[in-house]
Structure formats: structure tokens, C-alpha cells
Amino acid sequence: MYSGEELDMCLRQIAAAGCQQSYRRLFHWFYKPLKQFALAIVKSPEQAEEIAADVLVNIWRNRGQLPGIDNIRVYLYVSARNISLNYLKQQHRQATLSLDDVSVSMGPLAMDPEQLFISAELVNRVRSAIDQLPPRCKLIFKLIREDGLKYKEVASILDISVNTIDNQMAIAFKKISQAIHLDMTRRPVPRTEG
């Protein structure tokens, strides 16, 4: 993950100097997340790759205009969303983003059972609780946890209110913590400090 300062610096280098190395870093930061975002909408891996590449190539091609872009992260995801929807339209499937019809794949959890004093079974429970989140909720949870986006950014990208993001995140936490507590009813609660 990159910091806000790193991202700003990178964009300045691209816009002002046409710096290839900075563009490569940008590509590394965003290619996979954009591809997965597009994949959730279009559900075709080849198409999702093309969309992610399209979005990033457009950044290079129009790099002179980068300083005019308010929030590059929102810009990248919104471009990916628009191109994805266009693709769906071409397939005569739909013209608007249906958040109940996205399919989101989750990355690894990297929870260390030993360090957390929890069982491997609990880790599995958490994983399956995340996997079973409703599509809309899962997409929002993924964008915030894995892509590191802010509530406000996700709201702009998905064209829904910050309030909805807040509610969906609370739902995700509720389902996951219910899975944790389901486990705890069957074994003594481990004590941890902190």
C-alpha cells in the first residue's frame, strides 16, 4: 500500500516529467485493484484486464491533465466503473450498476491464530463469514479493507451515500463478529490484554 504523500509525489512526477518509473509504480498500485473492481461488475477476467489497462493507459496518455483531477483514486475507479458498464451495455445486459449483482473475490486474511490466541477454526469461520456477505456489503468491505479507500471515496465511486457505506460496514462487522461469538459459545474465552 502507498501513502497519500507517495501517491501525490508519484502523480507530480508523471504529470511534470513524464516519469516512466513513477507511472510504473502507479500501475503496480492500481492495476490489480482496478481489475478486481471491473471483474466484480463484468465477471469476465479478460475483459476486466482490458478495462484496468485502458484506465491506466488513459492516465499516461492524458498525463498533462493530472493536476486538474481532484481525487485520482475516485477518478480511476469511476473510469473503471464507466467502462465496465459500457461493456455490459454492449453485451445488452444492463446499463446501470447493480450492486446486488456484483461478484467479489476476497484476498487473503493473514490472521495469525497463534499470535491472536485463537483457533484455526475461528479463522475459518471469519473467512467464511466474509465470503458469505451479501454482494453489496462484500464489495464495500473489500474496497475499504483491501483497497484502502475511504468511506467518502467508496460512496462517490459506487454513487451511493456515505451513510449507506457506514451501514454496510456495520453489517459486515456484525456478521463477522457473530461468527466469532458463535465460536466462543463453544469454548472458553481466551483472555487477551490490550
Binding site: 500500500m1 516512466q20 510504473r24 500501475f27 503496480h28 492495476y31 490489480k32 481489475k35 484486464e49 484496468a52 489497462a53 485502458d54 491506466l56 493507459v57 488513459n58 499516461w60 496518455r61 492524458n62 498533462g64 491533465q65 473510469s79 464507466n82 467502462i83 458498464l85 459500457n86 451495455k89 454492449q90 446499463a95 484476498g107 487473503p108 486474511l109 493473514a110 490472521m111 491472536l116 485463537i118 475461528l122 471469519v126 475499504i144 479493507r145 483491501e146 484502502g148 475511504k150 468511506y151 457506514d166 451501514n167 460496514m169 456495520a170 453489517i171 459486515a172 462487522f173 456484525k174 463477522i176 463478529s177 466469532i180 461469538h181 466462543m184 474465552v189 481466551p190 487477551t192 490490550g194
Partner: protein, 351 residues
Amino acid sequence: MYKDRIWQLMSRKIAGEATPEELEELEQLTRRHPEERFTMEVMGSLWPAPPRDDADAEAEEAFRHQWGMLDETEAQPARQRKLWPWMTAAATVLLMLGSFSWLHWGKKEEAPLAEREHISEVHARYGARTRITLPDGSVVMLNSGSKLVYDNDMNKRSVREVQVSGEAYFDVAKDAERPFVIETPKLRIHVLGTAFNVRAYPDERFAEATLIRGSIEVLLPGQANRKILLEPKQKLTIFNRPAGNQPQGPEVFSVSALEPLPVEDTAVYVETGWVQNRLTFRDESFEELTKRLQRWYNVKFRFEREELKDFRLTGAFAGESLEEALKAMQLIHPFRYRITREPASGIVTIY
């Protein structure tokens, strides 16, 4: 219920969205319900997400691939004009510096497209077709020997304007507030969100707009109040005036319905077959067809026997080479050909 509030505050805290007051409130709540501290610790361990194993390798591969193509177009000699990269090696995007004698109809609040600051010009040279994604998300397929001019700032304008010379297939992103307008020397087309084909090659006798989905409004030159509304699967054809005719006379045009090609099982139309990389034609004269073959295969045609120009052909090519196409046409009507290869492109003599 306190739990709902805890989940809300916990998610805000872990996502870095909580205010100091909310953090304090969460602290109070978990003090009263210590079992939630454990939940929070487990949930907190989900943050930040570790990177996916394959993410870097995949990004690097995609980067190298895209950069390779960008590089190829950037490396071309720049001369006075600045060359911009584009995704296919076949196409070159030029920063537009010159001006064009485009016709403008109706009033405009903004400067003509050609005079704006950030415009791009995309050419699909003979023998190549190019796919372009515009800043608003609209997708344009540009056929061989065609040109598209667009405004990189189109998202900031009240009207999304583009200009086409040649043939292009548009899939326009919906935006009810900013109509999409396409200008050609013979037609002006207003769109809200739709898919359609425009054909206006300077060397052809007619200009055509074909609608696949949605609705479009076509304005004829010099007749700003004359609007023709097309329905899906209809096309509008405008015929050029014979030379010397007075421009005041009414335009000769026709609106006709599309029929799927008989040779295809799916809905492929002559008008838009090229978008799927098919060269399609119905009852066209050999002479008309060679104009399209010239662009498609980047060759020149010469007829040694005049009577061959008039025989009529229907068919579709998908990926055939020039020779395969000529051989298929020989089955419809006997003729002979020879191909002379020259440095840049070939000459096909029909006799």
C-alpha cells in the same frame, strides 16, 4: 441495541473513519462489555489487508505489455507535432494543431472543437481498425481510413462533442445532462446514450447513420430545424448532391430498416459488421466494394475491364486475407487479378 452501535463504531475505528468522540464512546462501550474487546482485536487483525500474492507479478506483466505498445507509438518521429501514444500500434493519436473546415450548425456556447486546448485526434490508417475509450467512458470503434477528433475535457463541457471523418461505431455512455454530439461534414447527430454507426467517407457518394440501440436525432446541414428521429434498427442515408447543383435544394435522403445478413446465424448487419472485424456487403457493385477493400486491406484497385465494375456482390469476410477474399469473389463472378507489391501497399489489377 448497544451491539449495533459497537459494530458501527468498531468499523469506523478500524477503517480510520472515527472521530475522537466516537473513539471515546467505543472505549466506554467496550469497558462495559469486555467480550467485545476480543472481537475488536480479531477484527483489527484483518487490517491492513496483506497484498495478494500474484498482484505484483500480474501488474508488472500488464505494465510491460501496455508500455511496449505505448513505446512503439511514442517512438515514431515527432516532427512538429507532438505524438501521443495509443493502445494499438496501428493507430496514432496526434495532438491536433491544424484547423478543419468542419461545418457548424446551430448556436454554440463554447469554442469550436478545433480551437480548444486539449483535443486529441485519432487516426485508423488503412488496413487497421482502432478502439478508443473517450474520457466520459463512451467507446468508439474507428474503421480503416477514418479519423476521430475529441475534447479531452469533454467531461467539463455542457455538450460532449466529437467529429468524425470516415466511419465509426459509437457506444455512448449515458449522461442525461450532457448530450453527446457527433459532427460530420454532412450530418450532425444528437445522442443521449446509445449504440450506432456513422459512415461519412469523403470519397463515397453518401453519408449514413445507423442506429442499433437507443434513439438519436439527426440534423441535416443548413437545416437546423429539420430533425430526423431514428428508431433502433433503422438507418438514414444522405446522398451527395450532383456536382454543380444549388445548395438550396432539399437533401436527398432515405430512412430504411436494417435486415440481418442472410449468411449469418446471429444478428450481424452489413452496417456494423466491421465492428466485429467482419467486412460485410450486400448487393454492392464491385467498384463500390473495392473502395472498402482498399481501406480494409490497405491496397489500391485498378480495373482493366470496365464491365467488371458493375457486377454485384453480397457476402461477409471475417479474417480472410486479401487473396482469400479475391478467390471467394471469383467464385461469385469470374475475373482474374494480379497483385503488385510495392514498398508501402499493393496494387490489385482486376481483369
